[in-house]
Amino acid sequence: MTGMEILLLVAFGGVMLTYILGRISSSLRNTFAVVLSLVLVVIIALMYDKTGETIFYRGFFGIPMSFRIDALSWLFAMATSVLGCLSVIFSLSYMSDRKNISFYYSMLFLVNAGMLGVVFSGDLLSFFIFWEIMSWSTFLLISFNRGPAVAAGLKYIIMSIIGSMAMLAGTISLYTNYGTLNIADLSHLTVSASPGYQLFLLIIFGVAFGIKNAVMPLHTWLPDAYTEAPSPFSAVLSGMLTRMGIYGFLLIIYVVVGAARFLHAADSTVSSFNYVLAWLGAITIVIPTFIAMLQNDAKRLLAWHGIGQGGYMILGIAFGTNMGVAGGIFHTLNHAIYIVLLFMSVAAIQYRTGGVRDLNSLGGLIKKMPVAFIGALLGICGLIGVPLTNGFVSKWMIYKTLISGRAPFLAFAALIGSWGTILSVYKFLHNIFLGQLPEKYRDIKQSPFNMKLPIIVLSSTILLFGILPGLPLRVINKIVVSFGFDSLNISLWGIVSESGMLNTINLFAAILAGLIAVWLFFRIGARTIPVKQDDNYAAGAAVPRDRYSYTAKYYDPLFRMISPYLKDIFNTFYMKIADLTGYLSNGIRKIYTGYVGNYVMYIVLFISLMIFVQMKWSPW
């Protein structure tokens, strides 16, 4: 399988080349970046429907490091590369007036390459290495803007290191037990393991992936990181990078441990783990969605939704039926599409308004930036799960699983989460695009073409996957089958299950017919006269300039009711611990110079020491 090696070579080579080219000429670098990201997309697209494994290096203490590809990794790789490509295109003008652009691009490619490495790695060692590359380059990108961004980045990397340590411990334990780290081999070997050991593996890897995927008690890094990162990277971060946690969960539950085989056994401890995970998913849906309602920062609002939507994926894959897993994976893909779209819309607004993302000070931009509005509208429709958008299909699958699995309370959490979503995203849409346009934005321009292009592409994808969900579901069905589940009954436009069916093309036809009929009816009436926003009812007075828009405290009555209950207690808890640690280790603080490179050095030293100790004396 030379394809994967070439791919990673291109991906990692591109990182250096971008930086070097950036030193020569910025336009050359930009062209190269776009070409490179397109090449990655093409290469991965060519690898469709291949499975296999190839060892590329044996040198690391004799552990063979390998790549593997199957439907699961292809799907994630494809999504990663496409979104990376769109993000690069989007960044062209967004980042154009910043410093250190070459560094930004090369780090973006490094993140991309790291993610590709993660999804293609065939053994847990290379998985870990690529995981670390991904995490560290992410840290550098989150802190790109300096100031509060560095704090956000540190929060991220500290939690990430905790996760990595957990993962490392699990990896080492697997190696000592079975003498191999190859995923395919492990999946055969762990079948015979004791349930206790399986549970240990699930929990220890679950912590690692739970931190990455921001499952509820481990989510605290996410809001700050999403908010402070450069917006095009926030898109990548929320769309794919965070969802590497989902990939990890899928890998550990359904490939390494193979929980599918245990799920329906009555006394299985694995199934109880899945149940706990599902409840964590449900909590992750409800609480962040309600917290999102109270946010006034556009990106932070989306960030909390990022956490909440992660809950749906966890809920789907943890519930462990074929439709649930398929729904979870599909939702991961859909979420990537619409959250990237939403972040890009926000970024377009930020680009034109000079970085404003405070929901209380924007408004009325629909007339000025219609493309961004369409992007945001379809994005929130997907996020809510309005029929005919992709989010509807995946949420439908998850609800269906929960209801036919007789878990009405989990289904209730998921459904009420959707309703909470409507409230907050409508506020998002209203406060940015609707209402009165502030005076200072009267002369604002449209976003440039390379910002519009990704928005248009992603918007149409949302509708395409919503109307013809069979396209992605075919790939996902392969994944589900490869996990050992029954095949789903999928057609191009819908799903049939024992307790009901979904036919999106009929729905599409009905809604289209309804729209046309109503439009015609509307047009029977007299022609309407377009008026300016100042020509507005103000109880007989003239509209006061700039003081006639309801944006601040949009859901004040609800806010008063729920805000006492919805503090982010976990974040406070962790910050308290952090303070306490800092207080206790005042003496050690001299080592921490505050320079990031030093931290990297310490950690690399620590990891190598651990590995060395393990290799030499194998105490675990």
């Binding site: 509208l377 029929p387 849409l429 309804g514 009436g525 007299a526 022609r527 926003q533």
Partner: protein
Amino acid sequence: MHIIELIFSPLLALLIGVFFLGLARKVMARIQWRYGPPVTQPLIDIIRLLSQKSASHGVAFNIGLVMSLAGSLVITLFLPFGKIAPMSNSGGMLVILYLMLIGPLGMAISSGESANPNASIGISRKLLLAMGYELPFLLVVLALMTAYNTTSITEIVSLQRDTGWSMFTFPLVLSGIAYLLILPAMLGVRPFEVVNAPQEISSGPLVEYGGPYLALATLQHALAFFIGISLFVNLMWGGAANPVIFFLKMLVVFFLGIFVNAVFPRLRIDQAIRYLWRWPSLIAFAGLILVCVTGS
């Protein structure tokens, strides 16, 4: 036959909805010692509105409203009216629940575009109220779906033919009571008429609608009324095999709603949410637990 039903059922729903609006005005008038307008008054209003030349605030102002009415029309294809349910095999209760979003969302976008703070306040109230009643409503619907082990509304209706009305069958009694308690909120009648509240926020989302826009909004309101009642009859009062009987059941629910409308003032929005999240939610929650305990 199928094609006829497809075209016929939304029109029937519109007709019944508009009839209900007219009847509501007549009945209210009679309670208030008045003679009242003719039942056809909403129809006259709609004709008049369509011929008026109103102000438009932009493309989303038009599209949102059209989307809202179209979404509501599509729901009627999924809801059984007696035995008429032309699209019930394209999706069940979950699709209906989600299609019910399109109406408010379209209205929200449209009136948000109108750039009037009264409209924005109205929309914020509408979404909050929806949040309020959706909590118990989802619990009720989940109890039904769990009890009958299906997500298809036609199956729920046909199963009730064997067991009797779900409101009066044992594990669903509590859910039925909870549904009855939130029904005024779902219909938007008076204790919960916080969205339009002409005396407070100048009819809220409708503030900038005139002419054809108001005609569409009136039709949307009529349909929402129809859908709310029809859903209740289907889920709790056993639907009907016969459209006429179904209509009579709807009429009974309609009168209940109007009487409640006549004897209560309007609540504040926070009081409305507090009410909806207290008793109806608790009862619905207990109902779901009851279903889970007895069902398996």
